[in-house]
């Protein structure tokens, strides 16, 4: 399925290229328009899509596992809001004007906010750490969204740029974007794969986890670090893509059962497939214009998600 989506992502667009031609673009590059489109435009875009989808899927799985809250998703700790604010400042104050150049700013913004939220929320000694963290995160997000709005309301030029970034898109990304976020996301994925076992224990509740010899606080900290790397990398590369991180782990849980050692890899694969598929659909739907992948993921993902939670047996965490 993943291979098929990659191929589709390379072939389909405002100018369609036959599958055979796609393969020839790699095996026998002849410099034709079609080959150039595939290698110079579609390949970087597909790379970014793969990375972002995988990162979002893994990030959602990590956070849902660590907080045992079905609603935890990459936006929850204010990371998207932090990245958004950084991008808005970059456009408005520093006059940064190209999509790839936003990547670094978004990454920095996401990191700063994540650190701030943890400083505020993670010092908890008693009570459900998840709730305090989530409250601190959503409040921080609200604050940053307000600050972002404050800039945008008075700066039409920035709004004009920003409104295309905020929908989440992997179009117009060159090779540098994937390269910038690759180390970040890769590090996050390593943590995610390593954390499966700990998340299984954590799923039994803090007290049981502790009695099984697990360092609950340390596990949460490690998982959170992985989460920040993944979610930050994703938002930096593609803008805030909603719903992949929330919905994908739930699907993974249905397919793979309650074992996080399986949920995480399933989420990674499903995230990548969903994101690429959504991107392809976005290119076809309003051809020759494009619909941002963030919008497509929601248009497809939201009805599916509602169907999911309407099932008689709601998968509890």
């Amino acid at each position: 399925m993943l291979a098929f989506s990659v191929l589709a992502s390379l072939a389909i667009g405002s100018k369609s290229v036959p599958f055979a031609e796609v393969i020839r673009a790699f095996t026998a590059y002849d410099g034709s328009d079609a080959h150039a489109i595939v290698r110079d435009l579609r390949v970087p875009r597909t790379e970014v899509g793969l990375l972002v989808g995988a990162a979002l899927g893994a990030a959602g799985a990590l956070m849902q596992g660590a907080t045992r809250n079905a609603l935890a998703e990459p936006g929850i700790l204010g990371i998207n809001a932090g990245a958004s604010f950084a991008v808005v400042l970059a456009i408005s104050v520093l006059n940064v004007g190209s999509t790839p150049a936003y990547t670094g700013f978004a990454l920095a913004g996401a990191a700063i906010v994540a650190i701030a939220v943890f400083a505020l929320g993670a010092t908890t000694r008693k009570g459900p750490a998840g709730v305090t963290l989530a409250l601190a995160g959503s409040v921080m997000a609200a604050l940053l969204i307000a600050l972002t709005s404050a800039v945008l309301v008075f700066d039409a030029r920035t709004l004009d740029e920003f409104r295309f970034w905020i929908v989440g898109s992997i179009g117009g990304r060159d090779g540098s974007v994937a390269l910038t976020v690759l180390p970040v996301i890769a590090a996050g994925l390593v943590i995610a794969f390593a954390a499966g076992h700990s998340l299984n224990t954590l799923a039994l509740g803090d007290e049981v986890a502790r009695s099984l010899g697990q360092h609950v606080g340390r596990t949460r900290a490690a998982v959170s670090l992985g989460f920040v790397l993944l979610a930050g990398g994703a938002v930096a590369a593609a803008g805030p893509v909603a719903f992949v991180g929330l919905a994908v782990p739930h699907v993974a849980r249905i397919l793979a059962g309650p074992d996080y050692r399986w949920i995480v890899p399933y989420s990674v694969l499903l995230g990548a497939v969903l994101l690429l598929a959504a991107d392809v659909v976005g290119r076809v739907l309003v051809r020759p214009a494009e619909m941002g992948v963030g919008i497509v993921t929601v248009l497809v993902g939201a009805p599916f998600f509602v169907w999911l939670v309407r099932r008689p047996k709601l998968v509890a965490l």
């Binding site: 908890t124 601190a136 409040v139 921080m140 604050l143 307000a146 709005s149 309301v153």
Partner: protein, 336 residues
């Protein structure tokens, strides 16, 4: 802290927590003070005494115009929007038993905003408030129908609501990428939430809505307390659980829709006002949530108007900027 006051007269008996009553009273005093201040402060300053005079019908023509036609409707809109959102948020949080729930999170406000923004960007029709109300109610109905499975569980309601909200928000983003920048800017200001230029046209529907719904909700608030003990206990205490939930959620959706249609998507108030109220009163109080919301919106608008005149900072921006640090402080103190 658990002092209680009981008032009895004939067959009538009422009961409050002393702390709750004191906090609520203080909030209402602050609310009135905020109202007077909102009317007094501005480019053309009016002494508070004159404001009060004008309000009781003893002002001169100039102050009458400024007070009655310009500032009072705006201040009242702010007060009512804040109160409506505060109560709506309290209902959503109590009924779903989830501290993160609010009409913003479950997509009611987003539904209204999508309708309004689409109208602004794609058409010339001037019926934005109506569209916003209709959109909110549609989102609310959709939410309830989709979350219904032989009853509405709080958990499922929140999850479905997140789906509805995401859908509406994606719609908003899409509309914003399709329009011309001039219209997009208008739509954006509306999205952020503003009280600029609000007149009696906005006040009346809100006032009627709040005037009818809030007493109904207060009458139901004892049921809310019992619902907090879980469906089984509530049922065995004689509460019609599903009917109460439908009534309460319906009222909350209407209040949100009215607020959104009057002032746009003033975010964060519905989420934070009940939290602040709960921490101040140390119990659940709809009136305190209303008071917190009203004080928050009024003070945000006042600051937005006076910070750097003649530019006005939209109220929706300042509500978050004022309340977020305060709320974080409360969170920290709760931990100590």
């Amino acid at each position: 802290m658990s002092q209680r006051i009981t008032v009895r007269a004939g067959g009538v008996s009422l009961r409050f927590h002393a702390r709750s009553a004191a906090v609520t009273t203080a909030l209402f005093v602050a609310m009135l003070a905020g109202l007077v201040a909102s009317v007094a402060v501005g480019e053309f300053a009016i002494p508070p005494a004159d404001v009060v005079n004008t309000l009781v019908g003893a002002g001169d023509q100039a102050t009458n115009f400024v007070v009655l036609d310009l500032r009072l409707p705006r201040a009242l809109t702010g007060l009512l929007v804040g109160a409506a959102l505060g109560v709506a948020g309290a209902i959503f949080q109590d009924v779903t038993r989830n501290p993160l729930a609010s009409p913003d999170v479950v997509g009611i406000a987003s539904g209204g905003s999508l309708a309004a923004v689409a109208l602004i960007v794609f058409t010339e029709v001037e019926a934005v408030p109506l569209a916003a109300l209709a959109g909110s109610l549609t989102a609310g109905a959709l939410l309830y129908v989709l979350a219904w499975r032989g009853g509405v569980q709080g958990f499922r309601l929140v999850l479905v609501g997140i789906g509805v909200a995401a859908f509406a928000n994606a719609g908003i983003s899409y509309v914003l990428t399709r329009g011309r920048i001039f219209e997009v800017e208008t739509a954006y200001v509306w999205l952020v939430g503003s009280l600029n230029g609000r007149s009696w046209d906005q006040v009346w529907p809100l006032a009627v809505g709040v005037g009818v719904l809030v007493p109904v909700i207060l009458a139901l608030s004892r049921r809310v307390a019992v619902l907090g003990l879980g469906d089984d206990v509530a049922r065995s205490l004689g509460v019609g659980v599903e009917r109460s939930r439908l009534l309460l959620l319906g009222a909350a959706v209407l209040l949100t829709g009215l607020a959104v249609s009057a002032a746009g998507m003033v975010s964060f108030v519905a989420f934070v006002a009940p939290h602040i109220a709960r921490r101040l009163t140390r119990s659940t109080s709809m009136l305190a949530a209303a008071g917190c919301g009203a004080v928050l919106v009024l003070s945000a608008d006042l600051i937005g108007r006076t910070l750097s005149p003649p530019t006005e900072i939209p109220v929706g921006i300042l509500t978050s900027i004022i309340a977020a640090p305060y709320f974080l402080l409360l969170l920290r103190r709760a931990r100590a």
